[in-house]
């Protein structure tokens, strides 16, 4: 039978890609802001060294979900979490887990590039380490490695002591990625990392994400589903705090299992 009309693969695929090891798993994860429930019990598996994209309309809970993956949600006043998130099999909500140490393993990049404006490029890269109480000195090798990984080294290697805010928007975002990478995380959470950037800067970030998956597990939240299609291996579609569908990105975009997913990705939503 012609493979691209086959649905057998869709039916058979487990939550994580068959050849990939599971890095993170949420089980019945619920989250609230005060009395308002944002996540209504999300269970999904995130494979190691792959890009998992979370898509869905505004208010679907996609950002809240990734913030629960490194315990950032709980820092919001009135916010509450229930359920479990396993990182390499250990529940990160276990009371013995230190959230600061956890966030070193599960780094985060935000929508708006937020370099520390009074710090140089070099200091920005090292800022995360300093906040963790590590004294890397001038951190020459570390700075070069993090900036190279973030595909920014060639553009800034001669101006490392210039202010981080002297860079363009796209460069600032890559600087923030370098700052996250300097902590040598295992997982990188990216919340709309390119939504404030122009198409060329966006493409650079997308290519970077594609390259980074060789070394890191990446979870990216995006309202741009074309971006999810271009760079991710797995795509999860959320709606109203519920996981509607998760699958290999090519399957979700070619042959989604759920009508709601189909309506959303074809623009028939609403």
């Amino acid at each position: 039978m012609n493979a691209f009309f086959s649905t057998a693969r869709n039916r058979e695929q487990p939550d994580a890609g068959p050849s990939l090891r599971e890095k993170l798993r949420s089980e019945e994860l619920k989250a609230w802001f005060g009395d308002a429930i944002a996540l209504k019990g999300i269970s999904l598996s995130i494979p190691e060294k792959a890009v998992t994209a979370i898509i869905g309309p505004s208010g679907c809970g996609k950002s809240t979900f990734v913030r629960c993956l490194n315990r950032m949600h709980e820092v919001v006043p009135g916010a509450r979490v229930e359920g479990r998130v396993h990182l390499d099999g250990t529940d990160i909500y276990d009371p013995r887990v230190n959230p600061v140490r956890l966030r070193r393993r599960v780094g985060m990049v935000f929508q708006k590039a937020n370099p520390f404006p009074t710090m140089s490029i070099r200091e920005n890269v090292l800022a995360g380490l300093r906040l963790q109480g590590i004294r890397p000195g001038r951190g020459g090798e570390l700075v070069e490695r993090a900036l190279t990984q973030a595909a920014l080294w060639n553009e800034v290697k001669d101006v490392l002591d210039r202010s981080g805010s002297s860079l363009s928007g796209g460069q600032q975002q890559r600087l923030c990625i370098a700052r996250a990478l300097a902590l040598e995380p295992e997982v990188l959470l990216m919340d709309e990392p390119a939504s404030a950037l122009d198409p060329i800067a966006t493409q650079k970030i997308e290519e970077l994400v594609y390259e980074l998956k060789a070394s890191f597990t990446i979870v990216i939240v995006t309202h741009n589903m074309q971006q999810a299609a271009r760079i991710s291996d797995r795509t999860a579609f959320f709606m109203l705090g519920t996981l509607i569908e998760i699958g290999d990105t090519k399957d979700v975009f070619m042959n989604p299992k759920e009508k709601m997913t189909e309506d959303y990705i074809t623009g028939r939503f609403g």
Partner: protein, 220 residues
């Protein structure tokens, strides 16, 4: 800026060129099976057709995936649209080579026929067109594509000559009819291969120049 999409497109081009190689080999073997009355070789062509079909499905699948995930535009879109039309043409050529092999197999069971006429030349010309069409696609060479399109007239003439030759043969002795009809079919198969090569080349011109030239005179 290099895009990972470019690597995917290169991979697909390579896969299509590999499929083209398999198709050319099928043509060459079917011609040898016919001219040398080699039934084992004819069987081989028939069996190997499945592998070509498999590559077609694989390219279809990957093309669909790239359209779904990469939202191609401009030359990328034309490339994938071209690929979706070129792949079935190649598969059709392989099926025609299989048809040649089937007729070769039937002829090998009958008394030898000495009147092949221009069949060798016709086969060589059709095969040459297929080879160049694949090359034009891989190199995105519209000039070569137009050259191949012009070559189609030569194949049409050779097909006509081959038909007349078989017709004479049938008129000379009615016991030749079944063999001569099989050879007439074979001539038609080569002509159709050349037609498919022409279709591929029309798509190559579209890919390179964004210009539709099918159903119209070649615009220099």
């Amino acid at each position: 800026m290099e895009r990972h999409f470019d690597r995917d497109l290169e991979q697909l081009t390579l896969r299509l060129v590999q499929m083209g190689g398999m198709v050319e080999e099928a043509i060459a073997k079917s011609v040898r099976a016919l001219l040398e009355r080699d039934s084992a070789l004819a069987e081989e062509v028939i069996t190997n057709d499945q592998a070509i079909d498999q590559v077609e499905l694989e390219i279809d699948q990957q093309t669909m995936e790239l359209i779904a995930t990469m939202q191609p535009a401009a030359v990328d879109l034309r490339f994938l649209a071209t690929l979706m039309k070129v792949t079935p043409e190649l598969e059709r050529i392989a099926d025609l080579a299989q048809d040649v092999a089937e007729r070769a197999l039937e002829l090998s069971r009958e008394q030898s026929i000495n009147r092949m006429g221009d069949m060798g030349r016709l086969a060589a010309s059709a095969r040459d067109m297929v080879h160049k069409a694949i090359e034009a696609f891989a190199r995105r060479d519209a000039t070569l594509a137009r050259e191949v399109i012009r070559q189609d007239d030569e194949v049409d003439n050779l097909t006509e000559q081959s038909f007349r030759s078989q017709l004479t043969y049938m008129l000379e002795d009615p016991t030749n009819i079944s063999r001569a009809i099989r050879l007439t079919f074979v001539g038609k198969y080569f002509e159709r291969m050349a037609d498919s090569a022409t279709n591929i080349c029309e798509m190559v011109v579209y890919l390179v120049e964004g210009k539709v030239i099918k159903h119209a005179a070649i615009d220099e």
